[in-house]
Symmetry: none
Subunit: 117 residues, 4 copies
């Protein structure tokens, strides 16, 4: 599971995103245990600091909870939370930015729809 990291986003953000993806695809399921910080650090070949930072973020957003001495677990409504957050971001931030770029470059909605299929 070694990951490729892009230069433009911090690694810990990319790890958060990959956690989101695992949750949304059902690879990680609500209530279940997620890999420990060390396990994940070894798996993606990254410093444990970096994983910890990602997990702390997920914890404050109530996607995961830590159980003393046992590890981190997905919350019951993790999927809904992630879904809601990302949908909101998608419609409020991503989409308007894409629309603005399309306008500036003179790209029509039709052209985009065609390319997306």
């Amino acid at each position: 599971m070694t990951m490729e990291f892009t230069q433009d986003k911090p690694i810990y953000r990319q790890i958060i995103d990959s956690c989101y993806a695992r949750i949304l695809t059902g690879e990680w399921r609500p209530g279940e245990r997620v890999p420990s910080v060390r396990e994940l650090a070894v798996a993606v070949a990254v410093n444990t600091h970096t994983i910890l930072k990602a997990y702390e973020y997920l914890q404050t957003h109530e996607i995961i909870v830590s159980r003393r001495g046992m590890g981190f677990y997905l919350t019951a409504d993790a999927v809904d939370k992630v879904n809601a957050t990302r949908r909101e971001e998608f419609f409020n931030i991503t989409l308007p930015a894409v629309a603005a770029e399309m306008k500036l470059l003179g790209i029509s909605v039709e052209e985009v729809v065609e390319r997306m299929r």
Copy 2:
């Protein structure tokens, strides 16, 4: 021409983007002189180094050229260069990322098209 800067991108990057916008809208025309480093620095209220950094970026991308003691000038094919670069980025990077996000969140093309109008 006072500019508002956001926190999420470095100022010099935002200046590059605003130069792109000026070129694409035709406010700056090929072959013509662009504001001097100092002029622009005063206009948008940032340090001259920050403007210079943006201009250096545009210069290595052959959007502008410096003429010693005279200032920076748009290259003849500045518009084409900017357009080509951004279209490429849009179709090769932005759009695939958006498509992946839509798939993950179960958002349909129809829903997006509707929202964009």
Copy 3:
């Protein structure tokens, strides 16, 4: 590693050249970490910005890459890149200029060859 700087070229250019030399002589090897901006700045007694400017140049020419929080690393094909670039410059720019100068001054190839030994 204290460096002597000449007046006729900017310091950051001379640093780029010395990096090239280190790469070509094998002192710096592909994939390995190069001195941090601060280390090198102290070593050659110039401001960190000046080193950074040199490193940024090398980065845009894909000789080195930055790894966030870890430092700069030589790319795998750094040696080839440097060699190719400089050979090209030598044969396409330097040599024709020298030949033109020799012609203008009436200096023969034989004379030059003799002097070079």
Copy 4:
């Protein structure tokens, strides 16, 4: 006679070089009048300041002399002077630099000689 100027050398230096070339090729002959500052400025499409700077350089190096109200004239030994200066520069500065570059890049004298024919 519009000239192409390169970015890496100041224009006034390039003008000096082109004067040298005219002298060495015999286009300008010892004792004869050279174009006035204005004439040359118009001819090569450059500010008169820039031509004046070049002429001042040539004057202090005794390549040309000004005759009050009449213009600038090549000195009697202009050709010898230019020749001597440039030969010296060639053998003491250019050639050693070329030799060093060749050594670094592993280019043999034979290869260079072959390419020069």
